[in-house]
């Protein structure tokens, strides 16, 4: 599954090459951050969890069997690390979760395009807020599918779910999101 470049990189890491591991971190930190930031509400803990994911990956890299993509393997570590964190804090995985407050400025600062129109930013805020209120399983699937462009099978491997279930959850999550956004828009129009 892993290409030659990835294998060479992993071999170099296993031989103690710190530069190779630094390269590995740079290559996959966005993937890990997307999963962790989507699932962990507390901003203070997010970076620590991302670090733990990479430390754990380093400790178990020798056991990687090339049966899946390294990104799938790493996303799986990130996902279960987040679940453990949330379980310790008694978060309910399938119920709605109260998100942290997200301001307009938070989302606006995430944008790199200064000319991006206000309407799009507002929609971004609405989607992020609606997303943060969704069950963790839905959020994870939406992140892996839309941001990491993983297939149903790959997401299934990450989350230990059948690919049919992944497809079904993905459909439900997007339908739920659209319904929430439509409801918000209708409320705003009523004002």
């Amino acid at each position: 599954m892993a290409d030659t470049g990835q294998k060479a990189l992993i071999e170099a890491i296993l031989h103690g090459d710190s530069n190779a591991y630094r390269q590995f971190i740079e290559q996959y930190k966005n993937l890990v951050a997307h999963v962790v930031f989507q699932l962990i509400p507390n901003p203070i803990d997010r970076e620590d969890i991302c670090q733990d994911v990479f430390v754990s990956a380093y400790q178990h890299l020798k056991d990687f069997q090339y049966q899946s993509k390294i990104s799938t393997w790493l996303a799986r570590i990130a996902y279960f690390r987040c679940l453990n964190y949330l379980k310790k804090r008694r978060a309910v995985l399938f119920d709605d979760h109260t998100p942290e407050e997200m301001t307009f400025d938070d989302v606006a600062s995430a944008s790199f395009d200064p000319y991006e129109d206000t309407e799009k930013k507002e929609r971004l805020v609405l989607v992020r807020e609606a997303l943060a209120q969704m069950p963790i399983v839905y959020r994870t699937i939406l992140t892996l599918y839309h941001l990491q462009e993983m297939s149903y099978q790959e997401i299934g491997k990450v989350m230990e779910l059948p690919s049919g279930t992944v497809k079904s959850y993905l459909f439900r999550a997007r339908t739920l999101l659209r319904q929430r956004l439509t409801a918000v828009n209708q409320e705003e129009d009523a004002w």
Binding site: H15, G16, R22, I25, E47, Y58, D106, A110, R123, L181
Partner: protein, 171 residues
């Protein structure tokens, strides 16, 4: 004949799951159906927003902190430091010996000879007599290079098979 598109069919359309002929039929339907066009438009906006990466900026020291937590950086720097010291010593010896051989600076040549002799004492096979006395050693330019190369090779073996496995196992 295409019926109205429900949520599932719109999502399948945008996920590219329809074959091309069915897609064309749907596109034809959309031209004449405002309700379906509106639904598709809403989903297109949703997809576009979901594909916009959120702000997940990690600190600048993120990679360094991970490397420190795995002990790989400290180990790496020690490993590099030792290698550097040995390589520098070997290079200095080779350069000094070579320069002195060509310059024929007699006062320092003796010192070079002592250094060369000491090195050769570790490699008896390369010495003509295998003796360790100064008088028996005739430093040749080529020999200096050979000794330098042997040191570098031993250094490589030391680094590759003794230092690195020890660092790996310590993790």
């Amino acid at each position: 004949m295409v019926t109205h598109l429900n949520d599932e069919r719109v999502q399948e359309l945008l996920d590219g799951q329809f074959p091309i002929f069915e897609r064309r039929e749907i596109e034809e339907h959309l031209k004449s159906c405002d309700a379906c066009r509106e639904r598709v438009s809403q989903y297109e906006e949703l997809y576009s927003t979901l594909e916009t990466a959120p702000d997940t900026e990690l600190s600048r020291s993120f990679a360094r902190t991970v490397l420190r937590k795995t002990n790989i950086e400290e180990i790496g720097s020690v490993q590099f430091g030792l290698t550097q010291v040995f390589a520098a010593l070997a290079a200095v010896i080779v350069v000094v010996n070579t320069l002195l051989y060509f310059i024929e600076w007699n006062s320092l040549k003796g010192i070079a000879a002592v250094i060369g002799k000491s090195l050769i004492a570790f490699v008896p096979a390369l010495s003509k007599s295998g003796s360790t006395t100064l008088q028996d050693v005739d430093i040749k330019g080529s020999l200096v290079f050979i000794v330098g190369a042997v040191i570098l090779f031993l250094l490589f073996l030391f680094d590759r098979y003794l230092l690195q496995p020890r660092f790996r196992s310590s993790n």
